[in-house]
């Protein structure tokens, strides 16, 4: 595999040598990322993760925080949901049934599979419980089984909604329950033909009146034809009482996680953008989602930058394309988003956590970490700060790949890792009381770019190498 990577990257490097921007592009954070010219050599840039076991290593967290694996040996954990009593639900599965259309698909799927877990997806929800609040989740039990690649989770009152790869279903939920009663009830079918991007993200409006479902495109950039893209690359607003839906926003290539902003009730999403036009294109983004908005895919990216690969073009659509709020960087593969709370500590109180699965379409890997995007007055303000790193070590080995993130109101970040099949829990060492001014931690005011050189000795005996991306 290493030889193959080397071959691919070397060949790509040679083929790209004549072009500008073959080197590491600048960091692309915030509202106005620098966008290089689209480019692609004869071979795409590829660096596939080389999986390795954690052993006694742990991810790296900022000083004043501790990290712990609260569940292992799961079957492809993706998204998590913290229930009112502190129990954690984990959606496990692997979806998609895209046929291999071209010789390229046969080769690429083989290569990319090297960077993921070989375990079969669970198609289930697992419940984790820490009954006495000591941080050890002693109960791990199957909460619901025989689902179809469940991903998005939302609880509205006593109804638990689960977004399978082909349908939105619901269960009745009573606090304290450790197993569902009965079969899931279908709310509505979801677009599932081909399912190139199969994950169905889910969020419920603050009042519970509507559900929002993120539906990814059926291709990178329409290479499966435009007919495959009907009802794709968009966010649906679903009325759970009737199952009726409308397209809430469109042109979002792969909205992999949704979250409702506390206070404003606004819908936010992280979106994975298109590949194969260079290491610096196109930035994955975090954005508030405007009702009725069109975000470019497939005709354009980052507003009105036309993507000539999508033909025939639609200039009117391009003219209407909205520029997203905040660039997370190209190819980071953001798969999780969660709003923070004061209980997470002063420095990380206002903003969102973003789980970044990590790149493949790039010689210099990016992502493979959980970052914190600080907010001010309800909008992103400042560069992302590393919050959980060490998933990809300096040794070039990848021990984990973050997916979904959830904030436990008691002051913890829950991170699903679908490579090591682990759930990580990151907590402030001295929990900051939410009501008091959080002075429990000597947090530096002038936020330095997260220097998690050493993790607290008590909780993390050995800190692995920190990749400074």
């Amino acid at each position: 595999m290493k030889r193959m990577n080397l071959l691919a990257t070397t060949a790509a490097a040679i083929l790209l040598a004549g072009c500008s921007g073959g080197n590491a592009p600048p960091e692309q954070y915030g509202a106005n990322p620098q966008l290089p010219t689209p480019q692609r050599g004869l071979l795409p840039n590829m660096t596939i993760a080389k999986p390795a076991a954690w052993g006694d290593r742990l991810p790296t967290v900022p000083q004043g925080y501790a990290v712990k694996a609260i569940a292992t040996d799961l079957r492809i954990p993706r998204q998590t949901l913290v229930l009112p009593n502190g129990d954690i639900l984990v959606a496990e599965g692997r979806g998609g049934n895209a046929p291999k259309l071209k010789p390229k698909d046969v080769i690429a799927s083989y290569i990319k599979a090297k960077g993921t877990s070989p375990i079969k997806g669970g198609n289930r929800l697992t419940l984790l419980r820490d009954a006495n609040g000591d941080g050890t989740y002693e109960l791990k039990t199957v909460f619901a089984d025989h689902l179809n690649a469940p991903y998005g989770l939302a609880l509205v009152g006593d109804t638990l909604y689960v977004a399978d790869q082909d349908a939105l279903v619901k269960f009745h939920y009573t606090v304290g329950q450790t197993h569902v009663d009965g079969e899931p009830v279908k709310v509505t079918d979801l677009p599932s033909v081909i399912n190139h991007h199969w994950t169905k993200a889910l969020a419920a409006s603050t009042d519970g009146r509507y559900l929002y479902v993120g539906i990814g495109s059926n291709s990178n950039i329409t290479e499966r034809g435009m007919t495959a893209e009907v009802d794709r690359a968009r966010i649906w607003q679903v009325d759970p009482r009737t199952g009726m839906h409308r397209a809430y926003a469109t042109g979002l290539r792969n909205p992999t996680a949704l979250a409702i902003q506390p206070g404003t009730g606004a819908l936010w999403a992280v979106v994975n953008e298109r590949d194969e036009i260079g290491p610096g294109l196109v930035p994955d983004y975090l954005t508030s989602v405007r009702a009725g908005g069109f975000y470019g895919w497939p005709y354009s990216y980052w507003g009105r930058h036309v993507d000539a690969r999508a033909q025939p073009q639609d200039p009117q659509k391009v003219a209407s394309a909205i520029v997203p709020d905040y660039s997370l960087g190209s190819h980071v593969a953001a798969l999780g988003v969660a709003f923070s709370l004061p209980a997470m500590g002063a420095k990380f109180a206002d903003g969102v956590f973003v789980g970044e699965h990590g790149s493949w379409n790039r010689a210099h890997p990016v992502g493979y970490k959980v970052v914190f995007v600080p907010f001010r007055d309800g909008h992103p303000a400042g560069d992302p700060i590393d919050f959980v790193t060490g998933f990809r070590g300096k040794d070039g080995l990848t021990r984990g790949r973050p997916v979904g993130v959830s904030v436990d109101p008691r002051g913890a970040l829950i991170v699903a890792d679908d490579l090591s099949n682990t759930i990580w829990r990151v907590t402030p060492v001295k929990p900051a009381a939410a009501a008091n001014p959080p002075e429990s931690m000597p947090a530096p005011r002038e936020a330095p770019p997260a220097a998690p050189a050493t993790a607290p000795a008590a909780a993390t005996p050995r800190a692995p190498g920190v990749p400074q991306a």
């Binding site: 071979l43 071209k102 290479e223 034809g225 194969e276 000539a308």
Partner: protein
């Protein structure tokens, strides 16, 4: 007369001719599919041309290897035989680059795929001509 007739049979590249004729028809198919995609934007033509090209490359590789084997045999070591091998190699190399271009997504293959497919077809036809030219070269001697 008998000598000439025998020499005729010897000078012809029969297996090669069959192989390279097959490959040529696949390359022509790929070119036609590229043209259809260029005119219609229908992605299926893009898929078709990718596979036709891949098939053509497999057969061209076989024909090339066969031609190399034949070069080891003294009576095949004529300039048309050498030219034939070189042309097959050129066909394969340009065809392989064309296949890499076809591995790009959607319209990203245009217009390079179209141009390369024309060159591949031209080279394949030329190889085919040399496979048969073996006949004339042998007979002339």
């Amino acid at each position: 007369m008998a000598a000439i007739a025998e020499r005729t049979r010897v000078a012809l590249f029969p297996v090669n001719a069959v192989l390279v004729a097959g490959a040529t028809s696949l390359f022509i198919g790929a070119l036609l599919s590229d043209i259809a995609y260029f005119r219609s934007y229908q992605i299926q033509w893009n898929n078709f041309s990718s596979w036709l090209l891949a098939g053509g490359l497999v057969i061209t590789a076989l024909a090339f290897l066969w031609s190399i084997v034949e070069l080891f045999r003294a009576r095949w070591r004529t300039w048309p035989a050498w030219a034939y091998s070189v042309l097959l190699l050129a066909t394969w190399i340009v065809g392989f680059i064309d296949a890499l271009v076809h591995a790009k997504d959607a319209w990203a293959i245009m217009p390079a795929s179209l141009v390369l497919s024309v060159i591949v077809v031209a080279l394949a036809c030329l190889s085919l001509a040399f496979a048969w030219a073996g006949l004339r070269a042998g007979a002339a001697r």
